[in-house]
Point group: C2
Chain length 244, copies 2
């Protein structure tokens, strides 16, 4: 599993704003990755990048600076380029989720590069044609230009989700509840207690009950209260019912 995280490289090509390098380093580390390669960054290293990287200074420090796109991906067995534009000759193009699933499926065995282009113009056609696969983040068509860090963040997050899912570590609902749910009998006893209290207080006329109890039953069924909640509610009903 750790290998899978180490086998994914993030390549930033000709980044012009140093802050974006720092932000990308942070996003990469936040999602559990560490391999960052910079192809001819305009300014690097820099204070601005260090500041934006926050606690990901180690990723920034280990980042490798190379002279060419070819150097950055030379040892990679799957190269994925981020692409915003329509291409004259279509290339295999997937959305981030399918891209992440493919990376997760291969990252245990293969060295993979995710490549991000320039802030203003992305990757060149020549660079994109060095990629096996293109990935496109489906942004708002009215405002599609995603910040470089945002693109790194979204793809790093997607790959992390796929990797966690592939090992069963991804929990949809993180249910470490402190109390067990009430049983059907406990809930029924509570509902009867509630109805009795409503009648005794004069709120509910048993001759014309309408839908009141059905609505209460529906609400508490939906809530699925836990045992401590039922205990609190029943204590409250008892307290209300006491002769003053």
């Amino acid at each position: 599993m750790q290998d899978s995280f180490q086998n994914l490289r993030f390549v930033l090509v000709n980044t012009s704003q140093p802050g974006n390098i720092g932000g990308a380093a942070r996003a990469i580390k936040n999602m559990g990755f560490s391999d960052l390669v910079l192809v001819q960054p305009e300014i690097f290293p820099s204070d601005r990048a260090r500041w934006r990287a926050a606690g990901a200074g180690d990723v920034l420090k280990q980042a490798r600076v190379v002279d060419s796109f070819a150097d950055a991906i030379a040892d990679c067995q799957l190269v994925i380029g981020t692409s915003a534009r329509e291409r004259r000759i279509p290339w295999p193009l997937v959305n981030p989720r399918l891209c992440a699933d493919q990376v997760a499926a291969e990252a245990g065995d293969h060295k993979i590069a995710l490549v991000f282009g320039r802030e203003d113009s992305g990757l060149t056609n020549e660079e994109l044609q060095r990629c096996n696969l293109h990935v496109h983040i489906p942004t708002n068509p009215d405002y599609s230009s995603l910040n470089l860090c945002a693109a790194v963040q979204v793809l790093a997050y997607e790959v992390r989700m796929s990797l966690l899912a592939s090992t069963g570590e991804l929990k949809e609902v993180e249910q470490e509840w402190d109390e067990p749910p009430a049983t059907s009998e406990e809930l029924e006893n509570f509902i009867q207690h509630l109805e009795q209290s409503m009648i005794e207080s004069g709120f509910l006329d048993p001759e014309t009950p309408r839908q009141t109890m059905t609505r209460m039953r529906r609400m508490f069924s939906r809530i699925r209260p836990d045992q401590s909640e039922v205990a609190i509610l029943r204590g409250l009903l008892s307290s209300f019912g006491k002769k003053k």
Copy 2:
């Protein structure tokens, strides 16, 4: 569909860095949303926010500043708080994907708030207890503190993906290929042409063919070449085979 995008509000509580307000506005607009509410931001409006918002200046301009968390969520029917920490009393807690699915399922009819806390300390327990649901982004346990914009970006992206999926607008593979795939017969004719060329050139000995043709057949089956690619390859074989 457009209603669903308009029914999701992003609430930022006590944001201290104005750049984050701008970055959040950009992330929100990139993903097709527009409703931003700021609860007592430290500095707003600001040049820094405008600069970071880039083309999302309209979202920033329309952002509503309110005095309290209660004001920000008053009209919302589902309130989701982002949470990084373990709570003493557990609250229903989902991952971003399940959160996004729930938002997408409800956003057509209900007003929904996604609430983000302070850069350094998140949401208070009191604020979190005003939420119906908590969402947690499963970051690297060794470096879990996500930048505020990054959290907004990830959740806005996830909700966009769920909304696009719910209307069938999300394509896994964006296949607007320019040429139809080759048929089985076209591929077979090419393979035979290739084999013939290999034999004629002396590369392949038909007496001891080994696995060469099987490997070539496997490769071209896997590639699934389109009709123009097969035509180029066959033209090339013919050209190689010409007597000089």
